[in-house]
Structure formats: C-alpha cells, structure tokens
C-alpha cells in the first residue's frame, strides 16, 4: 500500500511580521519548519505503518517549493517517510491555490500513480487557506475527508474520525482517497538520532515541471485565477481610554472610578 503525505515548508508563524510599507512578510531571521498540520498527517501515516504491518505500507512525502524546502522533506524522512519528492521549478513561482494543486496533482499522478491514500495537513499555518488538499482531491477525482484526527484502514476503505463543532464524526470512503489531518490530541513525535541519521540515506529527489511533463500554461502566476493584492496586519484596536500612569495615585483613582461606574465592582 502506498500513502502519499503532502508536506509544506512554512516560516515559524509566531515569529513573522508584516512590513507595513511593502505589505510583504518580514522573514529575516525567521526559520522555516515543516507545517505542523503536515506533521500530524505524517505522524498518522507512520502510525498506520505500525498498525497494519500486513499492508506493507510505503510512505512517500511530496512537497512543492523552493530548493530549501528539501529540509521539510528531510524532516518527513526523519519522522518515518520512506521517500521524499520535491517539485521545484521557477515555473511554479507565483502559483495560487489552484495552480499549486494542479502542480501537486501532476506530481502525485506522475510519481505515485498507484497511491491508495493521500494524507495532508488541514491547512498551512502561513497562508491558512485550507484549499489546496481539497482541490487536489477534486483534480484527482478521489473522495476527500477533512479535519481528521484518527485514521483506520478497513478492507480497501479508509475510516476517519473527524472533528466537528459538536464532537466527532466517523466517516469512511473507498480508497484511493484524500484525508486532511487536524491536531487532535496528538503530541508530536520526536525522531530518534538513528532516524535522523537514516533519513540522510533515504531517497530525496527533486523534479522540475518538465520532468513531470506539466503543461506550462497550467502552473505559475499566469495560471492562477486568484492573486494576493496586499498583505496587512489587522489594524490595532483604536478607541478606549489610556490612563496616564505618571502619578500612580491619580491613575488608580481613575481606574477605580471607571470600574465602579461601569458596574464591575460590587461595593
């Protein structure tokens, strides 16, 4: 059985700020990581490998990104993937969610045509669109189940426990299928030193658009129906009243009056 895990390299979200002048992300000094939701997908794949030894599961991690996205795939290899494929080409640059899903769909169809299951993170923590996995499923014509927290395999069907607002739902679909993973109660795993070392010996290959015979018209900026016009930080809250604290006595009196007048104090 072949499981494809989709992986994305993202900047560490809590350390990224938006440059108010240019509207671009300030990435200086911010390190890149494997998107945490992709890591949950990979953890699930590794768990399935252990749970169903009879299925002889092979896990293949696929990513699209610049050459340095290899590091995200390396982490996948450390955490249990058997192979890593990076789709990297200037021609992919500027792709929106649709063009990205096209490229990845082509990658999957070309490199792992006999896949049984695709596991993806529910979304990436940088763009937060949560659209790419769904669009890949559509383009591949396979069923999709989103927001999974646990996956079982049962006689050519995949059974997914998924989060809903009121609790959990169990859905199943025939394979091949695509499942996106949520955080759930998972504690992310930590690779052993052996796994880190062995990852460096596993196959990690890079493919260009030409290698995959992808039609140039379908990828990149020109094939993207949507474009990001501007990125900006949400405006900070205005209004309210700032109490001048230079004289603590006066400030405390003011605060006290405010709390009293507005009914926050029971006297």
């Amino acid at each position: 059985m072949k499981i494809v895990v989709l992986a994305k390299q993202v900047p560490e979200a809590d350390k990224v700020a938006v440059d108010p002048e240019t509207g671009t992300l300030i990435r200086e000094g911010v390190t890149s990581i494997l998107n945490p939701y992709c890591e949950y997908a990979l953890d699930q794949a590794a768990k399935l490998k252990v749970d169903y030894p009879e299925l002889e599961i092979e896990v293949i991690a696929i990513s699209m990104g610049p050459p340095q996205a290899k590091m995200a795939l390396l982490r996948c290899l450390e955490l249990g993937a058997d192979k890593g494929y990076l789709l990297s080409d200037r021609k992919f640059a500027g792709s929106d969610v649709w063009a990205t899903s096209t490229a990845i769909k082509e990658g999957v169809a070309n490199l792992v045509p006999e896949f049984d299951l695709i596991l993806a993170g529910k979304q990436a923590i940088d763009g937060d669109t949560a659209q790419v996995p769904a669009e890949i499923a559509e383009q591949l014509g396979v069923p999709q189940i989103t927001y999974g927290v646990d996956v079982k395999i049962n006689n050519k069907r995949v059974e997914v426990k998924r989060e809903v607002e009121t609790g959990y739902q169990i859905l199943s679909a025939r394979m091949p299928a695509l499942v996106t993973m949520s955080k759930g109660n998972n504690i992310r795993r930590i690779p052993s030193m052996r796994a880190v070392l062995d990852a460096r010996k596993k196959p990690l290959e890079v493919f260009s658009a030409d290698d995959l015979n992808i039609d140039e018209e379908k990828i990149g900026l020109s094939a993207s129906p949507t474009q990001v016009d501007k990125i900006f930080a949400p405006p900070s809250k205005t209004g309210g009243e700032i109490v001048d604290g230079s004289d603590p006595k006066v400030a405390a009196r003011k605060l006290f009056e405010y709390l009293k007048v507005n009914g926050f104090l029971r006297m």
């Binding site: 000094g29 494997l34 504690i187 930590i190 030193m193 052996r194 070392l197």
Partner: protein, 544 residues
C-alpha cells in the same frame, strides 16, 4: 601595563528634590510590595525609601542623601535571584528599572570581538533580541566616529551566550551574581563575558573598570575615593576549580573587575557594562536514555571529554525526576509535550551539540560509539534541530522544577511555612560519581522525597528535597549541611550558581571557614565601611 591603583571619579550632583522618590514604610509596603521580595520568596522585606533613578548622577545624589539620613541601600533590578539578594530589610531601595537601555555596539579591534554596551536593568532576553535582530541605529556605534553599526549588521548572527534559565534576569543582577547555567559548561559563567564595568561606590563616586587595566599587586588594590586610599587586601583562600558562585572572587594577581563580578552588590551600584557577544551557531538538542545511572554517568564522562563533540551543555534527570515527568504525562500529556518516557528508563541525559549537515554523520557516529559503550543507543535518543523543536526540548528541561514547585505550592496549603530545599553544589570532575552516590544513598536512607536534575556536565546537579511535613523539612536541612560539607571535601562549591545572598551564610562558612569570611568582611569594610550597600548579602556585618 596594568596597575593596582584606581581613582574614582566624581559625578555631578543634582538637587535631591528633583529625583522621584517614594518615602514611608507603609506606602511602600501597601503600594510597592513587589520591591520587597524576589524569587527567593523570603518574607519580612521592608523599606523606608524607594527610588527609580534614570542616571548615574541621580544614583550618586541618592547615595549621598541616604548616607546623611543614615539609611542602608538595597540595589534592585529584575528581582529574579533566588537567595534574597534584592530583598531589603529597612533603608532604601534603588530600583534600576529605568536604566534598561542598550547604549551601543563596538568592536574591540585588538581582540577582534564585538561587545555591547548596556545599562544594568536590561534583561538577557532583550539583549539577545536586540543583538539577533540587529536593531541598532547608526549613532549607537562605539566610538561614534566608527561605522560599527553597519559593519555589525553585515556580520553573521550573534548572541549573548550566558543562559541562567531565567532570561528575564537583568544583566546587572547576573553580573552581581556571576550567573551561570546549563551552557556554562561550554561558554563559562557571566564573569567570562564582562569586558568593562562602571560602578558607583558608597562615596557617590564612580569607578570605570575596563578588564585588563587594573591588576592586583602584592595581594592588594588601592582604590582612591572620597579623598582616601582604600586598601583592598585580597583574601587568601583558595577558590575551587569547580563551578563556583560563593563569596568574593580572590586570586593573588586578579583583575579588579573580578572583585565586582559576583560580589552580590555589596560594593556599589553597577551602572553600565560592556559585554562580549558571540557568533550564534545552530545546534541540536538531544536526550539520551539509560536503564541505570552508572551508564549515564559513564556517558557524561565520555561525551564531555570528546574533543570533537564539545557539547553546549550536559543535563541530568534522575529516576525520581523522570517518574514525576511520567506521572505528569499520564495526567496532562500537553504539559510535558513529549513522547512517553519508557517505564524502564532510570536516567536521562540531555545534551546540545553543534548542528551542521556537513558534520552530522561524523558527529552521530561518535555519539553512537559513546552511547554503545554506555549501554544505550541512537535508537533510544531523541534528537531535534528545528528551532521550535529546540524550544520544546528547553521546555522539557524546565518541566521538572516547575512540577516540583507545583507540588510544594500544594503542600503549603497544609503547612504554610514548608518550602523545597534546593541544593546548588558542584564538585571536581573525578568526584562526580561519588557525589551522586552520596546524594542518593543519604536521601534514600533518610526516607525523604527528592528529585535530582541539573548541570551534570559541570558536576553541578540540583538536589530538590520535597518535604511532606515539617519533620521532613528539618531533616532535609540537616542533610543539606551534610551535602555542603561533602561538596567542599570533593573540591567543590556550596553554591555553584545561585550565590549566597541572605540565606546561605552558614554554607559559605563551611567552604571558607570563619577566617575566609572575615577576609571578605575586611574587603567590604575597606570599601564600604558604613555597610551602605546590600547589607546581609554574602555575610552579616558582625564578625563571628
């Protein structure tokens, strides 16, 4: 050429009335209680005056005025110390929190090293943030006519490598304490990173002390201040080779700056420091697991002597600490946020090494060999190098003390005056295994609940005794003294990193004897005869 005579410089005086002050014990107790405690949580702190100076001139003026008023002075910054050094028992508090700026960046052309000039109350976190993101503006070059800011911005990533765990500590406080921590194993303590200090003395005059300029001659310094020559006779006790933060630094040909570093503020107020910074190297965090402690100690001995690996630090968790973690993992897995720790594991060793893809295989091959010789394996060792994972490992290392503090807080409900007993002792390399055995045997025989964790790379672990009742507490205190004597016997220190402060005087005496402590008193007496600064830190005024 170095010299042993230094002249203090006068500071311009300003009208005292222009300086913000809070006066009155009641108002300070009611409205400013946080200035009466620190992380030692010792109670009874009180003060008659409280100041928030902005400049050296203000500090000088305050000191002179307080001396007229016959008030003692306690120096206060971040109050993160755990031996009560910043807790005042009467007199005035000089809170330095307004003096929290980065002054600039300079390049020492001779040493080819960058340094940062800072005010005393800036936190280590802020310094690192500033240095890492290179927030300097052009006018912050030291000296101004050089273009060091641009040069620094074009250079690689830097950091201030002293990491005493509590990174909200102020630089001034860490200099006063000669703070250290896990990374001291590789990078040394605060002392090694201080290039220059400015200190205001009891006369209100300031000393400007660059490292290398003033060295002791014939066992003494002469400090000219307030129209007098203050003769400083350097104590003649021998300091341990092991990691040490107990009492005053003393060596026959010592640098004057070292007298002030680690002096717990008893000689004056640090108002400015030049600190070295260092290239930031990416590193990997690892945790190795062992089924018995002997193997773990064997691993420590081997890895610390490896020329190739040169770990940043080597940290230890005993079986009791791991049991606390395992129990917590069952009850609240997210608190520990690590995969389950196997039940048969008795000891864990956490160690950081330099990370580079180029050397990774080479490093791991060496680590594998050492692990094998210690009955562990690469398979049994966690490893990470992504920054968020490194943060996760750091959190893991700090989880044990946090769990201990929670347990004690819970027990306080029944016994309000109960507290944990945390040791801070180091020994020489060759006594590590013996000391560990002594801890375990003594504590097990006494039937006390305890955990051991800490900086085993420096033979410096923290034994935390968790008393279940007041009898346990009393028994624990007796054992504490026993441990201190043993540590000294093993060539170590009674306080390797926390300092003596107001709560460890008796252990300092175990280490240096009454004579040694009296020699420290003599230094204090010469420089601050009226005992103006930080009374009760390191020793009490009266000779015993």
């Amino acid at each position: 050429m170095s010299e042993n005579i230094i002249k203090a410089l006068e500071l311009e005086e300003i009208p005292f009335e222009e300086i913000r002050s809070i006066q009155g014990e009641i108002i300070i107790t009611d409205s400013y209680p946080s200035y009466l405690v620190d992380e030692s949580k010792i109670s009874g702190g009180k003060a008659e005056w409280l100041f928030f100076p902005n400049t050296e001139q203000e500090i000088s003026t305050i000191i002179k005025k307080m001396r007229e008023e016959k008030q003692k002075i306690t120096i206060s910054a971040a109050r993160t110390g755990i031996v009560g050094s910043a807790v005042p028992f009467g007199g005035a508090v000089i809170a330095l929190e307004k003096m929290d700026k980065i002054i600039g960046i300079g390049l020492d052309e001779d040493e080819k090293r960058w340094f940062v000039r800072v005010q005393p109350a800036i936190s280590l976190n802020e310094i690192n943030d500033f240095v890492k993101t290179k927030k300097f503006i052009v006018s912050q070059s030291i000296p101004k006519e050089e273009n060091y800011v641009q040069q620094f911005c074009e250079d690689c990533a830097y950091h201030y490598p002293v990491d005493p765990t509590e990174m909200t500590a102020s630089i001034g406080g860490t200099i006063g304490a000669n703070a250290s921590g896990a990374r001291t194993f590789k990078y040394g303590a605060t002392r090694d990173w201080i290039k220059r200090l400015r200190v205001i003395l009891a006369t209100g005059e300031v000393l400007e002390i660059p490292r290398g300029k003033y060295k002791a001659k014939d066992g003494r310094f002469i400090i000219q201040s307030g129209g007098k020559d203050h003769i400083i006779e350097i104590p003649n006790y021998e300091m341990p080779i092991a990691k040490n933060a107990a009492g005053l630094f003393a060596e026959p040909d010592m640098d004057l700056i070292d007298l002030f570093i680690g002096s717990e503020g008893i000689f004056g107020v640090i108002t400015e420091a030049d600190i070295w910074i260092k290239e930031y190297n990416p590193h990997m965090s690892n945790v190795a697991f062992f089924v018995n402690e002997k193997d773990a100690i064997n691993f420590v001995k081997k890895i610390r002597s490896s020329e190739k690996l040169k770990p940043d630090f080597i940290e230890y968790f005993d079986n009791n600490a791991l049991t606390l973690l395992r129990n917590k993992q069952k009850e609240d897995p997210k608190f520990v946020n690590m995969p389950p720790i196997r039940e048969d594991i008795k000891t864990a060793i956490s160690f950081d090494v330099f990370y580079s893809e180029e050397y990774l295989v080479d490093y791991f091959t060496e680590i594998e060999q050492i692990l094998k010789e210690s009955n562990s394996s690469l398979e049994d060792t966690w490893s990470a190098y992504e920054e968020r994972e490194i943060d996760r490992f750091k959190h893991f290392r700090h989880a044990v003390p946090e769990i201990v503090n929670n347990i004690i807080a819970d027990r306080k409900k029944q016994y309000p005056s109960i507290h944990k007993l945390g040791t801070d002792m180091s020994v020489e390399d060759q006594h590590l295994a013996d000391m560990m055995e002594f801890y375990h045997a003594t504590l097990t025989e006494a039937g006390l609940e305890y955990v051991v964790w800490g900086h085993i790379g420096d033979n410096h672990v923290h034994v935390n005794i968790l008393p279940r009742d007041m009898n346990d507490l009393e028994l624990g205190k007796q054992l504490y003294k026993k441990f201190a004597k043993k540590a000294v016997e093993f060539g170590g220190s009674v306080s390797a990193e926390h300092g003596i402060g107001k709560i460890k005087h008796e252990y300092l005496e175990i280490m240096y004897g009454v004579e040694g402590v009296n020699q420290m008193r003599a230094v204090k007496n010469s420089l601050d005869p009226d005992n103006v600064f930080n009374a009760g830190n390191i020793f009490v005024e009266e000779k015993s």
